[in-house]
């Protein structure tokens, strides 16, 4: 059930990502929703789930983007694993630590992804710092908001039900 949820979340993120791809900041997409989902899964479910989600999401993303299949998968596997380890070793329940984790995860992903492409002499990235920083901030904001929504939504619905019950009585 949980696995199906992760797969659905990745699929939804990919679908949204393909529509958001046109919002580009200096050659880098402003928000990588797939990466946000991977880090979210890693922080909530641990390193094993994080790395598997990263591998699955990255490979699908690679296959859809007609690049070398595996480079995005490798980068997201690494990020998912490390985010999961951080999630189990440290208390990451407040907004600021979560923001930092999402920010650093995006930066690490960019370093590994672009680094591999440059190392293999397949593609060059000219001064991508501003683009990566913009994407890191975007991912961190979306990630933090996603956590808030997921955590606050059940309580809000409960209160709403309770209110409706009181009015009927």
């Amino acid at each position: 059930m949980r696995t199906a949820g992760v797969v659905l979340a990745v699929a939804a993120a990919l679908a949204l990502q393909t529509t958001l791809a046109r919002f580009v900041v200096r050659g880098t997409v402003a928000v990588d929703l797939v990466l946000v989902v991977v880090v979210f899964v890693a922080l909530t479910s641990g390193p094993a789930a994080g790395l598997l989600a990263g591998a699955f999401a990255g490979l699908v993303q690679d296959a859809l983007s007609s690049s070398i299949v595996g480079i995005g998968g490798l980068a997201k596997t690494l990020v998912g694993f490390l985010a999961g380890v951080i999630g189990t070793q440290f208390i990451v329940v407040h907004t600021l630590p979560r923001f930092v984790v999402f920010f650093c995860a995006t930066a690490l992903h960019a370093v590994v992804f672009m680094g591999l492409y440059m190392l293999l002499d397949l593609r060059q990235f000219s001064a991508p710092y501003a683009g990566v920083a913009g994407q890191a901030v975007g991912n961190a904001l979306v990630g933090v908001i996603a956590f808030q929504v997921v955590e606050l939504l059940p309580g809000a619905m409960e209160r709403r039900r309770a209110q409706r019950g009181g009015i009927r009585r």
């Binding site: 390193p47 790395l51 598997l52 070398i68 299949v69 595996g70 480079i71 490798l74 596997t77 694993f81």
Partner: protein
């Protein structure tokens, strides 16, 4: 309770994230390597695998050679061995020079061949030692101790004092895989020196070659010398491939010719790699650039 006492925990991947991480990363690396080709045009996976394995072969070859040298050279015939080695080197150089001279003389008969004389005399070679054989008999290849660091590239011809050995197929940084002429996937443009009949010498996987596409009208007899024609763009013209061992009428338009290679592929230890690009290789290199 320890993890190993619980069989469910042993197969539960969530408790083995580290191993899972390493496994997934290795799969990714292999996946990427299989898709990316190196600068020499060989897939990275093949190049890296061969590079690693050739280092093992180098170490083993060095060890075996060291023991053999100590036994035969130092303890037994120290001075004679050194002298013999020097004489062998001189003889090898003389045989190469003799082959070049022989080829030059034959080409001097025609005006057309006069232009090729310049290419031939300027042949630049680099010596290499064989450090390993193929992992399986299905592929007739050897590993030499020179690689891209020494200027070696794919499709460079490899020769020995006795004649043509093969061509380089997979160069790594410090070593290279050489496809022998007797490999079933190997072929070279060939010409019978006496009758000037042209054909293609192809490997059949054994220790003999077949010369294909030689018309029935040509006069070919057992003992005729077969040399490279140079039309394949890999092997320089005029190097000895072998001698005709048998000639049969196949009933069709071509003769069935079996050639005994001039080189004893099981005994060859040192080879020369022709570094000078052939005109065809220069043309293809220039086009790709």
């Amino acid at each position: 309770m320890r993890r190993w006492d619980n069989p469910v925990a042993v197969i539960d991947l969530r408790q083995r994230a580290g191993y899972l991480f390493i496994a997934v990363m290795v799969v990714h690396v292999i996946l990427i390597s299989a898709q990316v080709t190196s600068k020499s045009g060989v897939p990275v996976l093949e190049s890296v695998t061969f590079g690693i394995f050739s280092e093992i072969q180098r170490v083993m070859s060095t060890g075996v050679s060291g023991v053999r040298r100590v036994w035969t050279g130092y303890i037994g015939l120290r001075h004679l061995k050194q002298e013999n080695d020097a004489l062998k080197r001189e003889l090898a150089a003389a045989q190469i020079a003799a082959q070049e001279q022989q080829a030059l003389a034959s080409r001097a008969r025609g005006l057309e061949k006069l232009l090729e004389l310049r290419d031939r005399t300027s042949l630049r070679t680099t010596a290499a030692e064989i450090i390993g054989m193929a992992a399986t008999q299905d592929f007739r290849t050897v590993t030499i101790d020179k690689g891209t660091r020494d200027g070696l590239r794919p499709d460079m011809a490899v020769i020995a004092p006795a004649g043509v050995v093969g061509r380089i197929v997979v160069p790594s940084v410090r070593s290279a895989k050489v496809q022998l002429l007797v490999d079933r996937n190997a072929a070279a443009g060939a010409i019978v020196e006496r009758s000037r009949a042209q054909g293609v010498a192809v490997g059949v996987g054994g220790d003999r070659l077949e010369m294909d596409y030689v018309s029935e009208v040509y006069d070919i007899v057992v003992g005729d010398i077969v040399v490279t024609s140079g039309i394949d763009g890999i092997y320089p013209k005029g190097f000895v491939i072998g001698r005709v061992e048998s000639v049969e009428r196949s009933g069709g338009a071509y003769k069935r010719i079996v050639v005994r290679p001039a080189v004893d592929f099981n005994a060859v230890e040192e080879v020369l790699v022709v570094v000078t690009p052939t005109p065809a290789r220069e043309a293809s290199g220039g086009a790709s650039e």
